[in-house]
Amino acid sequence: MALDAFTPSRRGTLGVELELQLVAPTDFDLVPASPDMLALLVRRPFPGTVTPEITQSMIEIATGIHESHATLAAELIQMRDALVAAGDRLNVGVCGGGTHPFQHWTERRIFEKPRFERVSALYGYLTRQFTVFGQHVHLGCADGDEALFLLHALNRYVPHFIALAASSPFVQGTDTLFDSSRLNAISAFPLSGRAPFLMSWNEFETRYFDRMAHTGIVASMKDFYWDIRPKPEYGTIELRVCDTPLTVERAAAIAAYLQALCAHLLEREAPDPVEDDYLVYTHNRFQACRFGLEGVLVNPRTYERVTIRDDILATLDRVRPNAAALGSLGALDELRMIALAGNDAAELRRARAERGAIENVVATALQRFRESSPIT
């Protein structure tokens, strides 16, 4: 199958997908409620779209295309309210978080849909272990070359997004010591990791995709589980490293950060990305997953070490003019607060420490998801 032509998009437009957990309010375990939830949700027009995911205890929502943080956040809040209301009618809790803190993957049930059943048959236990919940942010690009430029220019900022969104410290009842353990589950898939270093769309298509397709390993871009991947049919790049945050407001703020950062990168003040930037990529990515904001990055050009927190704070300052132009200074302030006060993973650990039983971690996540945090 040939790669789709790159459909040009309006530069810098945003779209967000969130994978959310469905839990039973009784024991706080995951519950295969997506068929009942979807059956109820189709009764009314839903803001954005809602679709089943591979396991029945997961539901995915996607926003429309947005120019600004404000409208994106507003739509996400509407969707959140619709989901929470539907969940209340069906005794189903909806929440964020990159992993469920104590679910057992053997219990998971695969949604009946041919693609999911095929994937499940191929990957076996990985599919069920893949019961992890991520936020994907789409950013519109004018053309394929721009998409690849941004994809590679973003490589040194990937740890920022991991650390800011990290919300998966617990797996199967224990503290993994990772802020984002979810990304470890994704790394098990053969086509995960990063995109090959090719800067022109034409080269990407002929020198990489067509040859991969020829091997028979892949049929479409959907088969790649890269941290950032181009999505030619939408005309976007898709950032896939974020855990689903505990609130939709935070999800919107993270998207706004990507928007402002890309606007900054497109000013092309920094030197162009080179392949050697990736020498430190997996190290930095690990630091972000393991230590979150406390992680220590190695700068790909200067080899200087700096904590992710400081690097985020410095970058937030650098992109302020872009955010001002885009009307998203409020989102940046929210992220600054996260960088200083701690991410969702820290909050979940605090809940565990203060409230004892692991079930209370889920109770905290449920509470955080339904209540509106003030948007600045």
Binding site: A24, P25, D27, V31, P35, L40, R89, L90, R109, A363
Partner: protein
Amino acid sequence: MTFSTELIAEIAWPLALLVAWLAGEMAFRWLNLPRIAVYAMTGFALAPTQLGFLPAGTSGPALLLANIAFGLILFEAGYRINLRWLRANPWIAVTSVVEAGLSFAVVYIVASVAGLASTAALLLAALAMATSPATILRVVNEQRSAGQVTERLLHLSVLNCVLSVLAFKIVVGLAVFHTSGSLLHAVRGSAFVLAASAMAGAVAGIALSALLRHLEPAQRDNTLAFAITVITIVALTHVLQLSPVVAALTFGLATRHRRSFFGRSQRGFGALGDILAVLLFVFVAATLDWRHVVAGLGTGLAVIGVRQLAKIASVGAFSYVSGISLRKGLLVGLGTAPVSAFVVLMLEQTRHLGVHLVDDLAPLAALALLLEILGPVIVRRTLVAAREVARAPEA
């Protein structure tokens, strides 16, 4: 021969449990029958009035153990009730009241037409309101089912049990004891029993949760603490002539809402719960006399029919407004069939008060036996039809 008769009497119950367990496993593997349906058949066959393998006279350790088994199941059922859901979706409670009320009405009419005395008809109608949480919960746990049909079956069974206990106590107070002849008086008496039982359960739940938190805040497995408390509550309410059903339910409810956790791995109280379940379902069927079953078969079948129709129609009618499809609503109505463990233990408790209702209520024996065997099969079929049973085969 006295020696061997005594010996048999001594080991009759353990042997009966062994036979029931074996039969249950074989039928589950080869005939794909729910285990508890087979326990019931075994119990009925071995009953004093049938093969006579089990000793006559039900009061004693077996009754106490059956009550404890039922108490453990009710605790778990209560634990799975979410009061916040009932507030957020009031149609669940409306469904329950209509469904139980209509069941009462139609069963009373059928029983009266069939020639039962008005007291007997009222008692039968009151008991027919209930759905036994025992069968529902055992099948749900056995099949690991989850979804709206499962969730609603559990909630409806708990709600209509409470309504049934209320109605039953009113009828007993009013018609059997002729306490004062006044309905108000009977209602007040019945409400008092319910309130006192609920209070006992709630106090136990709150106190135990506080204690557990104090002892070991992060303790994962509270099974032992819950089991011992259930046993105590059942024995206590039994002695005080309160309702063990309501007390065990509220204990579960209070425990859940005080955030003491009863995790999925503890479901059904493990091996303890399993062995007591064998005993419960054998015991319940063993109280039934084939002569009553035969005598009451016609009316019993009619009662089963109209009761089921009433439940299916009521739940179906409110399915859309309560947030599920008509199909799932009808399935929930169908799944409310089981009644036996609840009915028999209620009656045994009344026998303890000196009233022999089972003997006067032949149709009830037929109803209890048929639904004890068919109930689990119906519930399982319902859950499978609703696609709420995990497809992965049980290891």
